[in-house]
């Protein structure tokens, strides 16, 4: 377990000074692998569609490589003990997303999304570098928790002032750019939840009556959870955004459970969530139609109106089979609108098959696992909750959107982290990875024999 980054402990240490390896070399190797895989995918698309390596292959590879390398240098400088898997996973998913979007661009020559996505990815990596360089200690964030929640609420409520797009009020359009403020809000809310629960977990853990095997919380402390629940339902009703609502509420319930260890919270959470979901699913036509589509994905075919998006998505996954058709050889463009954003996973499923899709799911799983591991390694509650919260956002978001396009749960309009077209999403995801890097750096450097502050 020694490598170049390890320094040997002195002969007579006052404390067991097992200095953890920094593993920056592994990170660099994995980043190179991730960039090479992405470039390979890019060339594969060109070869399959036109029989030639696409002219931008070198530029694309160089661009992605330079971005990843800069991020790596920032990590090396300011977070040398950070988990070596986080950054390569981000690079690989982002690179793969660019390949899939580029591949779909070939079907829609009039509407190219890959160049814009590359610009947003650059912005995202820049934000990543800024966060890693500027934020020296994640505990600074705890002080700004109420600023975070106010900012999050403003961002969430902003799109209500703008016209609805495809039935959902989650975008704002400024100077030709579409921004989804809800994406930024989720990081801010994770920070706030972590800070709030770190401060109040003892009060919240105060148990009330015991029903069956569950310790129900007392009525007094129910206030905050009801407030969050109302916020989620409010988002759902005002913006018709089932996914974000589900994500926020799920995040809060997970963190509440982790902070207090009371199963009663989960019961209350599930009860409220199902109440809200049933009521809104019943009353709100936009959400109701999503539920209907989920229960009967082929109803529109039987009605003679042709397959809807979900049916087309299922057809795409089915066409992929175990090994997929190969990049550039599928027909997921039949999904039509949102093929590059919400339904990007269908392209991965069709062209990379169950094998590729499982690999992508496992990459997300690994990202989440590294987040949880950082949470487990830390000692102070805010950092633990923040790490768990950020990892849970990824897990919940992947489940909600992937489950939606695969017909497991009702479809909600959300972006697949890193893969999907969408600037706000990719920038936010890089910020989240930056925070995880920061937290994991603290977690792993605590073991290096020096006294953790």
């Amino acid at each position: 377990m020694t490598n170049a980054g390890t320094t040997v402990a002195t002969a007579d240490p006052p404390a067991p000074a097992v200095r953890l390896p920094r593993r920056r070399g592994i990170e660099l190797a994995l980043i190179v692998l991730a960039v090479l895989l992405s470039v390979y995918g890019y060339c594969d698309v060109g070869l399959a569609k036109n029989g030639t390596v696409p002219p931008g292959a070198a530029g694309y590879g160089a661009g992605l490589g330079v971005l990843a390398l800069l991020a790596h240098i920032a990590v090396r400088l300011r977070a040398p003990y950070a988990d070596p898997l986080l950054l390569p996973i981000g690079v690989l998913l982002n690179g793969l997303g660019l390949v899939l979007i580029y591949r779909l661009d070939l079907e829609t020559p009039g509407d190219r999304a890959a160049p814009t996505q590359l610009v947003w990815s650059t912005l995202g990596v820049t934000l990543f570098i800024v966060v890693v360089l500027v934020l020296r200690d994640h505990r600074v964030l705890q002080r700004y928790s109420y600023v975070c929640v106010v900012a999050a609420l403003v961002l969430l409520l902003l799109p209500i002032l703008f016209p609805a797009v495809n039935g959902a009020r989650i975008w704002i359009r400024i100077a030709g750019f579409s921004i989804q403020p809800g994406e930024f809000a989720k990081v801010l809310l994770a920070v706030f939840f972590a800070a709030y629960l770190a401060d109040n977990r003892n009060a919240l853990a105060y148990a009330g009556r015991r029903v069956w095997f569950m310790q129900l919380p007392t009525g007094r402390v129910l206030g905050p959870i009801v407030a969050i629940w109302l916020l989620s339902v409010g988002v759902l009703v005002l913006e018709r955004d089932l996914g974000t609502s589900l994500l926020f509420f799920g995040l809060f319930v997970v963190l509440l459970y982790v902070a207090t260890g009371r199963t009663g919270w989960i019961a209350v959470g599930l009860l409220l969530a199902s109440l809200g979901a049933v009521a809104v699913g019943w009353l709100e036509p936009h959400v109701h139609s999503r539920v209907e589509d989920w229960l009967h994905p082929f109803a529109s075919i039987d009605a003679g109106q042709g397959p809807n998006q979900l049916a087309q998505s299922l057809f795409a996954f089915a066409a992929g089979g175990v090994l997929g058709t190969g990049l550039g050889l599928g027909h997921s463009i039949l999904i039509g609108f949102a093929a590059k954003s919400d339904f990007i996973l269908a392209t991965a499923g069709e062209e990379l098959g169950l094998a590729g899709l499982s690999a992508i799911f496992l990459l997300y799983g690994l990202l989440v696992e590294r987040g949880y591991r950082a949470g487990l390694s830390l000692r102070e509650p805010f950092g633990r909750l923040l790490a768990v919260g950020l990892a849970s956002i990824v897990a919940l978001q992947v489940f909600v959107i992937a489950g939606g396009v695969c017909g497991l749960i009702p479809l909600t309009g959300m972006a697949m982290p890193f893969l999907a077209q969408g600037g706000s999403s990719v920038v936010t995801n890089w910020a989240m990875v930056a925070l995880l890097i920061r937290v994991s750096d603290s977690a792993r450097s605590q073991y290096d024999g020096e006294v953790a502050p």
């Binding site: 902070a259 089915a318 066409a319 949880y372 487990l376 633990r384 489940f399 017909g407 497991l408």
Partner: protein, 485 residues
Amino acid sequence: MTRYIRHAAVFCALLLVALLVNATRIQVVQAGRYDDNPANRRATIARYDQKRGDILVGGKPVTGSRDTGEQLRYERTYTNGPLYAPVTGFASQVYGTTLLEHSGDAVLSGTDPLLTPFPLWNDLTRAQSPGGNVVTTLNRAAQQAAYEGLGGRKGAVAAVEPSTGRVLALVSSPSYDPAVLSGNSAATERSWARLNSDPDKPMLNRAVRQTYPPGSTFKVVTAAAALDAGVVTDVDKPTDSPDPYTLPGTSTTLTNEGDGCADASLRAAFEWSCNTVFAKLGVDVGVADMAATAEDFGFNDAGLRIPFSVAPSTFDTSVDKAQLALSSIGQYNTRATPLQMAMVAAAVANGGQVRPPYLVERTTTDDGDTVSTSGSRPVRQAMHPATAVRMKELMEDVVTEGTGTNAAIPGATVGGKTGTAQHGLGNSGTPYAWFVSWAQGERDLEPKVAVAVVVEDASADRGDITGGGVAAPIARAVMEAVLGS
């Protein structure tokens, strides 16, 4: 807190497992069902993603494929579409396929497993075979002659090789260009609507899918039945038949166009197409023998495929004597396709043997390796060989000195029979002009071609519509084309 973080991690792991299980469900377990959903366009896209194989006439393709660059990439094209439309049919991205395009679709579209070098080869390599070719039996010159002969008039021509059953010409007029139906644009939709609402029905394949009253040409069948049944033993002996002839059990009388039919011999009656004589002969033969002979020629056979289906020609078997009398001169419920009447002529020319007609010589891969051949087919004896010899004589007489002199070809032996079939309520419709014939060149060992022509010319005078005047010249052109090639 550590314990609860672990619980939450287990929860996330469960979500991951749920996603993986569900992905397996839709990508493996239920994939087949989704793939086969008719609303899934992938099969259609794959079908049009490569060039369609060609239909060959005389070694040259009469079809082609055009790269449109659209989602459904290749579109069918036709060289001289209207000429071959009754053979090729159309291959439309919207309206499906018909005729040879339909029956040969597996080979043409490349999905036929026989096109692969080894079994399951395509399943392994996930490739698609290039479209194979369908080689037809058609004779280019005969097809062209028949089409030009009809000259846009409503009608049809069918020609077969008597000794094999190979279809040499199959023309229906008026025709249409199947290329206008190939694509999937609005123009295709308009063409489809226009062709379907056209009162002249250009998409109707009159040669095989339309039955006509055969009129006097059916007398070939009646004469053969009479000879086979022994009702007539000597073609030159007077038949005991009155003129006019009163249909048995009725007061309706049947007359002839010309004189000299009373007690005429079979030879004279055949030559001058005496209705009275053949009506009585049919009654004398009886419904059982008449029906048996007609069915041996191919009537009442709903299963004939060449390889596309042919409308069954009918000879009504539940008739009284008066109806049998009319049936025997090709009226009442007797109906025949032009191809069926070509088979009748071919049976006479081929010593009484009926060879089932076929249009596809063989199918090949795109580089010419044979995939399947027409194979041998069952042969039916429609009449005694001796009867066939006498029938040939009778038909030759029609051309040399009877009603069919317009079909005579210098230097060749030609036998024929004219027909003018009445139809419509009270026979008010414009009659159909028929001519069936066969021809044998000077140096040929056997007759090379049998042909049937029907012209339903609504514009001509009733008197002009005789098989000899209108239909025989077309038949002659077709026969000349076959003998000359």
